[in-house]
Subunit: 348 residues, 4 copies
């Protein structure tokens, strides 16, 4: 089969022939229908500092993957051959303190598909049975493949707001694919208004399609002032930080209303300096670190949104390529002229 | 009557004779039984930058006050003459968005006793009826007067832990009076263990009396390492930051276990730089700004602790002076050789 | 002025001339713009057992009222003459345990407008300033007058679901006006689907207009089976019981999914027999008693729904009469051929 | 090996020789150190209606079991030979909706140790690896074996109170072993006072040892009146119903304070008739069905209580027998002259 592999610790990747892997005990083999490209995959492709420290080569990467089960290993009792599934990429141990508390997504022994073991930019991929989430076969492959980042958005909206989205003003800071999904989820979850802040014009346009009531270009407007204006001066009850830019995190705290809640999903690359006294303590604001998705309660929620059509993620999906179009795919990702970019093995 | 007044915008204060004030509509007059000195009072006495910006002179200060109702104004229907009460020092409007949401303690029009209008370092003081909390007459005056800071501690323990104190390891950073009360409250609320971090030896000793299982001197031990050691490497589920020292806030985030919660009550005087990615986001930690006390649900809780004896605050009260001993009182406060210092008008 | 008064402890009421009341301290005088008729008003009109036990005559009734402030008593500091307000009919003491815990709506000394003192079926009415909720002057009088029952619906949806409406199947049992509002609120709050159960055909039609996905006539379909069918056999995560019929309450428990939540707002007139073991305990279901509205956090929420148009309550309002049309108004209420019926003093 | 088996569908049981079972994939073999007798085991022994409907013979019963791992099957990766473990008796599928939502204890495909497959009244027992909870080897076998019912108590205290035990009055209705454990847990979790209601004098005595502040004999005192008296007329914030007696459930609702919470763990054998209007709705009381234990967050909590000594369960353990003393063991269980009764295979 074909697999997009990082062969050596350096930028780039190669589409090579490798044997189809065999599922071990408790594992299933998927014929990949679609695999979408995450920002993390871009880091791996470009081989940034994080990738160089974290990963070992050679490895097939790609973790946002959907496909059909074509074989099952021993001790697989629930998922059947022929099932159409989307992969939860976080493989958890089930026995550490965090897993025992029901927080498998922050498992102390977390292993990540396409980072710690061979991933889904390939014709076939093996995942643990319990990481295979069955999706309605009527859902198209590209949508099936974006459950992972869509789940980040759902988790950020619910966890990051402490459940208080209905009737709240929700600000989304940063409209990459996850931010754009978050706009749609916040709207479907009953927000009073959704304000999207994003410098990229294309993405501001998609944010509108996803249901943003107000879009703010931070290049031409002060986002804090814009939020104050849209809220009669009170600020937003909920701020979802998905950019990872330190200065934007700090802005986010200044947009918060008294008693407001802020989710941090974007990963600042360095220290962030905050006015805790004025923007957090006297306001009794709450700040929630958010990572991954809850396994599998977030999946239950996102299935509702995707299977019922309450949220339509398709405006976010801007590009589709065959596996051998990977170079162009990563290029368009880097260009900023894209939303979500998806690799579809069959296309070729 | 006598009143300790800041007559001019400069350091110091004067004990002067002034007329006994008359309660207006909805107000009650208290004969002061005890008034404890808060860190804020020290700032006012020393006339620091905050005081210079915020306050107008002349004014009687002191907001942690208990006494007997000796007169009631018109439209007072619930509190009776003779009642023994402790004052909630936050006077709220009841009509702003925060009040309407039940967060009167972050009222947008908050006026503070002894800061915005004449306070309780005096023989008599006037407060709104609804700010008068009846206390059991068997509670001694000094304990009655510390409801305000004790309430800060109760609110920090409950709000700052999101209710998860039972079975958790709780770290208290900074053992001034509020931190010391927090040690006692966390213990009474069912913490697995309470770890107190404080450089002042006297206060570490009081922390032990209040129920700390482990006390850490940050001058001789790395507090983060000490917490890791006391928790088999996992970190603390709950960290209560009451020092307001930026470097300590940052340390606090590094002590947090995965899924941990941190309360911020101490007020950092400037920006605080945090590793949000490593210490908050990947851990899914939650950070809660905390201020004041919930009006009056925190008072309900603290009444249980103080009236039943579940928490004995008296080890924290180290000094008592008459009103005319105020100079010595403020001096001992500054020295660090004290816990809570209380002014008792009758004593003279 | 004219006032619709219960003069003697017997069925009926009389529209009589009485002096315009004067607002006392902390009170405001409203010129009534609209007053809607509640089921309670019907009980008073018909003088049922509850009314006979609870009320004293003579009294002007009517508690769902909106109007303009035309005079203010002493000690009124926030609400101004000319303001357009809707009345919170629950007058709370502010000093009992429940009020001190922020549950003013279950105040131990609750006094109810139009039940315990003169109400709003009149040209003018006096209410406490703090019970006057300012509404956007562009909201029409009839909508302004239904804040009270609309607030019941909002409170039931949020409290009764423990905040878990988004992505949940929500069943509304009983589609009188409050149930119909609840359909609209559940939809706006992000429910996956809303199922309305109601024997009255007219009201089932309004339920559809309010956004119900499925309407069930319990006369021709088993509601439990209908809910199972609409949920792939799992049952509903949220059931809102607004009928007060004991057999319907019992049915509601059988519709609940594992882990489901049920709100009880309807008032069963006698004991209700439940299979707690099978329908509550093994399912780990949660049952929430709900009454009134939270003062004023529910009002904040409902203002969002009504002021932004997120919920349009007008399909529920089926009849409007002048004050002197009261006999016809109560007749149409009794007939079941109505949704909400409103008295508009000006109309004559 | 010896095993206590129900050979035929009739009362009684036989201690017989059977082969030592072999652990399959993902399973471990325990050498039983202690197995405590649950009320369910008594139903099985006596072969009541529930047992006759639910169980198939022949089967070894007993599900509250602790022992040492002496062999592991294939695909066991975390639990090692030699580990001392207590068994979670609920075997969950991990794939149904409830499991996916993190509620494995109400799994739709739940299989129960000693009910649906061979249990622990034997020299050896096989359980799934993931149902083996490692306990500190210093914990004695009898205490290790009561994790299951102790976990019921912990789950009831926390889930049933919605987390509000600290500063609350907690009533425990019914002081069988689980109720007695609940007394100890409520005390350790920071209750203001714990009131235990129990007709059996021996058990009232143990309730006092476990930390009850007030014990009530319902044969000589009205429990509702007793709770009112102990709470200045207000009622209890938290009521834990562990008796399963319909009349006691109804009493429980009448003890509740406004805003109170009630847990239902006891299983009423038939319908329960409640005054929902007066005792639940107007009070805004909340009723929580509770079953089993959360897997494994409750285990994390109970480990804290049992491993640290915060709760000492030993006063509840009144009798210990060898396996061949089973007849006497079941007899003393039936007599009411016991707390927890434990079978210790080694003893013979």
């Amino acid at each position: 089969m074909r697999a997009l592999r990082k062969l050596r610790p350096e930028p780039g990747a190669a589409l090579v022939e490798v044997p189809v892997p065999a599922p071990g005990p408790g594992e299933v083999l998927l014929k990949v229908a679609a695999a979408s490209i995450c920002g993390t995959d871009q880091h791996i492709y470009q081989w940034n500092e994080w990738a160089a420290q974290r990963m070992r080569t050679p490895i097939t990467f790609g973790h946002e993957v959907a496909g059909h089960v074509v074989a099952t290993g021993p001790e697989v009792h629930h998922v059947k051959e022929g099932a159409f599934v989307s992969a939860e990429g976080h493989v958890f141990c089930g026995f550490c303190i965090q897993c025992r508390k029901g927080r498998m997504h922050i498992c102390e022994n977390l292993r990540i598909l396409g980072v710690d073991f061979d991933g889904g930019f390939a014709d076939y991929v093996v995942i643990p049975e319990r990481n295979a989430w069955e999706v309605d076969p009527r859902i198209p492959p590209d949508v099936a493949s974006i459950h992972d980042p869509f789940g980040n958005a759902v988790h950020t909206v619910f966890k990051g707001s402490d459940g208080d989205v209905p009737t709240s003003t929700v600000v989304v800071l940063g409209c990459g694919p996850i931010g754009l999904f978050a706009v749609g989820v916040a709207r479907a979850a009953g927000a009073r208004q959704v304000i999207a802040v994003e410098p990229n014009e294309l993405r501001r346009g998609i944010a509108k399609q996803m249901g943003a009531d107000v879009v703010v270009d931070p290049g031409s407007q002060d986002p804090v002032a814009a939020v104050r204006e849209a809220t009669d001066g009170h600020g937003a009850e909920v701020v979802l930080e998905i950019s990872g830019v330190p200065a934007v995190v700090e802005q986010g705290t200044r947009m918060l209303a008294g008693g407001g809640r802020m989710a941090l999903l974007g990963l600042p690359p360095g220290p962030v300096s905050l006015d805790l006294t004025g923007q957090v303590i006297f306001k009794e604001a709450r700040i929630f670190g958010v990572t991954g998705r809850e396994i599998f309660s977030t999946w239950m929620q996102m299935s509702v949104y995707l299977a019922t059509g309450m949220v339509d993620p398709t405006p976010v999906i801007t590009h589709r390529f065959g596996l051998d179009g990977f170079e162009e795919a990563f290029e368009v990702m880097s260009s900023g002229r894209s939303g979500k970019v998806i690799l579809l093995p069959k296309r070729e």
